[in-house]
Symmetry: C4
Subunit: 381 residues, 4 copies
Amino acid sequence: MRDFSYRGLKRAYGYDEVALVPGAITVNPDQTDIRLTIGERTLEIPFLASAMDGVVDPDFAIAMGKLGGLAVLNLEGVQTRYEDPASVLARVAEAAPAEATRLLQQAYAEPIKDRLVAERVQQIKAGGVSAAVSATPTTALHLGPIAAEAGVDFFVVQSTVTTARHVSSTYPLLSFTDLRKSLRIPLLVGNSVSYAAALELMETGIDALLVGVGPGAACTSRQVLGVGVPQVTATMDCAAAREHYFKSSGRYVAIITDGGMSTGGDICKSIASGADGVMLGSPFARANEAPGGGFHWGMATPHASLPRGTRIHVGIKGSLEQILMGPTSLTDGTQNLVGALRIGMGMLGARNIKEMQQVEMVIAPAIRTEGKSYQMAQGLG
Amino acid sequence: MRDFSYRGLKRAYGYDEVALVPGAITVNPDQTDIRLTIGERTLEIPFLASAMDGVVDPDFAIAMGKLGGLAVLNLEGVQTRYEDPASVLARVAEAAPAEATRLLQQAYAEPIKDRLVAERVQQIKAGGVSAAVSATPTTALHLGPIAAEAGVDFFVVQSTVTTARHVSSTYPLLSFTDLRKSLRIPLLVGNSVSYAAALELMETGIDALLVGVGPGAACTSRQVLGVGVPQVTATMDCAAAREHYFKSSGRYVAIITDGGMSTGGDICKSIASGADGVMLGSPFARANEAPGGGFHWGMATPHASLPRGTRIHVGIKGSLEQILMGPTSLTDGTQNLVGALRIGMGMLGARNIKEMQQVEMVIAPAIRTEGKSYQMAQGLG
Amino acid sequence: MRDFSYRGLKRAYGYDEVALVPGAITVNPDQTDIRLTIGERTLEIPFLASAMDGVVDPDFAIAMGKLGGLAVLNLEGVQTRYEDPASVLARVAEAAPAEATRLLQQAYAEPIKDRLVAERVQQIKAGGVSAAVSATPTTALHLGPIAAEAGVDFFVVQSTVTTARHVSSTYPLLSFTDLRKSLRIPLLVGNSVSYAAALELMETGIDALLVGVGPGAACTSRQVLGVGVPQVTATMDCAAAREHYFKSSGRYVAIITDGGMSTGGDICKSIASGADGVMLGSPFARANEAPGGGFHWGMATPHASLPRGTRIHVGIKGSLEQILMGPTSLTDGTQNLVGALRIGMGMLGARNIKEMQQVEMVIAPAIRTEGKSYQMAQGLG
Amino acid sequence: MRDFSYRGLKRAYGYDEVALVPGAITVNPDQTDIRLTIGERTLEIPFLASAMDGVVDPDFAIAMGKLGGLAVLNLEGVQTRYEDPASVLARVAEAAPAEATRLLQQAYAEPIKDRLVAERVQQIKAGGVSAAVSATPTTALHLGPIAAEAGVDFFVVQSTVTTARHVSSTYPLLSFTDLRKSLRIPLLVGNSVSYAAALELMETGIDALLVGVGPGAACTSRQVLGVGVPQVTATMDCAAAREHYFKSSGRYVAIITDGGMSTGGDICKSIASGADGVMLGSPFARANEAPGGGFHWGMATPHASLPRGTRIHVGIKGSLEQILMGPTSLTDGTQNLVGALRIGMGMLGARNIKEMQQVEMVIAPAIRTEGKSYQMAQGLG
């Protein structure tokens, strides 16, 4: 039994509470290696795009793949429910704020078509890039084989919290071991935030773990359910499980921090916390190529009694290339994310992702001060 | 003597400073058992409504009972002072802001009628549900037997801070042991926040302890008197006393966190801190069924020289059923509180309240960041 | 040499960061004893008014004395520079904001008259109450004997930081031991914030120590010089020195927390931190009786190169009696300060100041949450 | 390998999180010795002006030298690119906000002229003061000898993060040992923030280390890259390296905290953290003598893909003499910085910089409270 003592409470940290410390070596940014390996496949840049309908459609996935990253297509969203998802997305974008939630609920009432699952995978593959798709644990056994048959390269099973052990009397437990064996492609599973849960999932044979449950203090999960862990600590805990599992099994499972990041600084901190890659939603929803047209909403699993996934206006800020590779005229850290990662690694003396996972991190809260403009003007900061 | 050393200061935590961590198991929400046992009686849902005049009248108590919870009627409020309390409540609701405090003070100047005490209990019982009433320590010995005779099921003795030992030269010490024996129904006492005080109260033979004194930083007690403890720590400390008392006596005293909660997340955190149930005021004052008509005010014990209990406008937001059971279109966590508790328990792998008391909790302050909307938009959070 | 290590940094706490915890006993407020003894004299209430020109003149001192407290008249302010200080004060109160600083500097250019020092003491004594006056270390040797001769009851030597050892080539070190012996009345000295400095001052034979240097984060000392300690920690450290000194010498030196308090809660926390009494400026500047007419400014020692003591508008909020004894219609804790202290002591089970110094205090930061109004509306908080 | 454990995270502190504690001795401010020695040369006041084009030109450097400090001229800025830099600076100051960044980028496209490097040094020397100039690591080997030949007294090599070991395949490693030997004048290098990096740089033979990378939470480095350390901790860590190096080598390397300070309090805290001197940008950009005409921008090293150095309006607030020596009518701590340092040292009982490095510092966060005006009005704070 747990000790009901405040002394037992561990402190969890988020992006705004830590900072990275330059050490005794610096490296030229152009000499940094930032590749990410998942299973037997390697991406040129460690960036994944979230399986969200406002972010990823086949065209976006192709653009992302050509830039070296990987976009995950949501197999339970509008892309597999409609022949012409663009018109549905356009209606969502054009809806008045009061209408949006109802319209989204309607849109997801349409059934998923197996034929469209295969078609979307083929569309992405036709673009000459790797294809990745996602399903929830309840649909994975059905949709996985269809996507695999269509030639998909990565399969993602994702729900708010996914564990290797789920207690339910209404449906059988999904075996990730069996799923991985039957699909024969890299399997990414999430989300998870704790050492024990991460370790159990790795032991099922998955290739990558998505980390992140209620990462931000303002998250719906945090507010409505009280559930969530800030991403720095969640990533550190899951990375510690990966190290332990690697030592005992010799198999390296990639840790991909998913959600809560908005700037290059957040991405650098995720890697420094032990991640091998990052999965982003909002930052990519702002791309010209994003199908949401400047709008963005949560995973397409509307819960009957607990509403989630409100439509958010993020605006269109630039091309996906600008967001990833720059150049940018924005100084808020939301563009040139790959450049920021390389420059950060250079300042911190990390030649590759494994070295970046070893840089020193300190707790340094982002207290907003009135001296803000002075500090920025120093130019060195 | 206390050491005048800062090292001796214990850190106390509130809802906004902690978060709950999913572990290696998840559970289907519909398989969670959330019953609350007080003495020999069991409630279907662990929700109590505060003994406040703007929240509970006999009709509200019936509605609450039918939904599985328990509403406590204030025996020192307008319900027992007036034949027709509804007209008094209507005047309070209609009063101009500047008038409200004076009107409240006038309303509570009318004497309590013993006959109405019995009548209100019988009204609730006539609705086919359990009845619960509350009195302060100074009136409990008089009002308790009247309510018991009328068939009340639970008796609550409540003041801002209640201890088993009260030093006074003006009135005799109330013996909870004697009161419990004479009433022969479950006795709930509060409020308390510390291990020692909780233990002493449990040893008097009470059935449940209400936890909460000045829970919020903005509370009157905190500001005017400097007195109060954030609810996570208060609940943990009192729950630790319950565990200790249970081990030594074999008797289980329910811990009910009272006050300071406004969302499902806060409720999940109370249970995770060791509570067996929660008592809410404001969230229920927003129900159509609440007698305050969208208004809400403190306990009816106006202090001559230290004003408290200002009328607060909370608005009417939905039916009691919506607030407790959903469905809801609000995303702020203030409705579908039972659903939120079950879903939170599911994500955290807790099949019942005792397991929910064991889930991992971390310190994760709710620092408000500018990246708020990004995080919400991630949808996973 | 100090270790340049962050691990060596002690955490200091202010009022907004702590809260007081009710224990296993409660006491009726009317049975609390709050007297304060300084040297051989005892005050009925442990409240002193700061030696500030906007707060204390002879009439205010008489009103304060009649209510049981003690107001300190500034011997280096307008009262001893002008026959008719009221007209000077009126000009300050009526000045346009841009004019006020210049006007204050002019006002304090007029020399101090020894004759007026004696006259002001006699005016207060004529009101039938004890008289207290203050001087800075450089003028204390000259003004002290004049005031003593005129019959003053308490002498205060005060500067921003006062130590028993001051390094200067321009004037001789003031010996508090000699001053105390020559004046033969209780000597209060301040301000101090550290254990070592407090202990050395007590060893010189002083009767009370004023605690407080740059107590607030927004203080001029803190901002301009980086110097200061939040009052909870400062009081705890000086109280620890008092306990040590009392054990070794058998002589009890009163600790008086000076500055930084604005509510009854802050006052309760000062006593709980180990203070025997409190000295307040702003809260009394808001009294009808305060000579500043709703305005307030720092100690009358304008520094040639470092400006301080800007005029602040605090407004007139009620009579001194209301501020100290109530009744009040304000709910912000700024009135009925004596009532708040007694009620707080009652909830905390403290029958007297020494017991109040032993109550439990926890660290509980005042994080401002959006749920503020809910918590207040709970009424129990 | 690093332990992926939150327990390993060190807490870093900034100016707003600490305060200085007066001890048992006080000193008259006019008896404080605040001289700074760098190599074989000594400055009367430990203040350096940052090598920024909006802050330092030859005239400003002369004014600074006459007041006892040292201004560093940027050898890669407008002063060495243009015969008539004043007209370029005037255009920047007059540009519309939207134009400024583009104009700055254009201005720095003009090549550096070796002849102007020598001329600017001679201009400063002609004013009868010491001359200091700065270059980045890539230009230092070329520009250093030119400046040395022209008679410069101090040479500064500075980039955002500078280490003794830099990994690059495009240019050879700069040897500070060789540079120091060839120039034969004091060599200042920066910026650095960690013990290990500072120690390695000291071992190369440098005379002073500039401390500061991303000092403020709002810094571009912190936001865009996540890189940076608050200055109190950065200074403490580098000062610890200095002490270690001094013990082992007998050579004392001056620590100069660079950036993030805006008030006298911040400067006092830097010295108390172990600095021997401070380097300021914005505070001096506000001087009448600053060439930026009330504007200020970052180091002249525009990065192709990551924009930095936005033009900031700081305004003109007074003469350099007022900013350093007072008198001042401002109460925000941004003027009379030398006076503030001396007065702070006096209150803290420090007779010289080495004693100031030993004063007690506590952690005392600057939580903004509503009681702000009260505390300020106390006048003692």
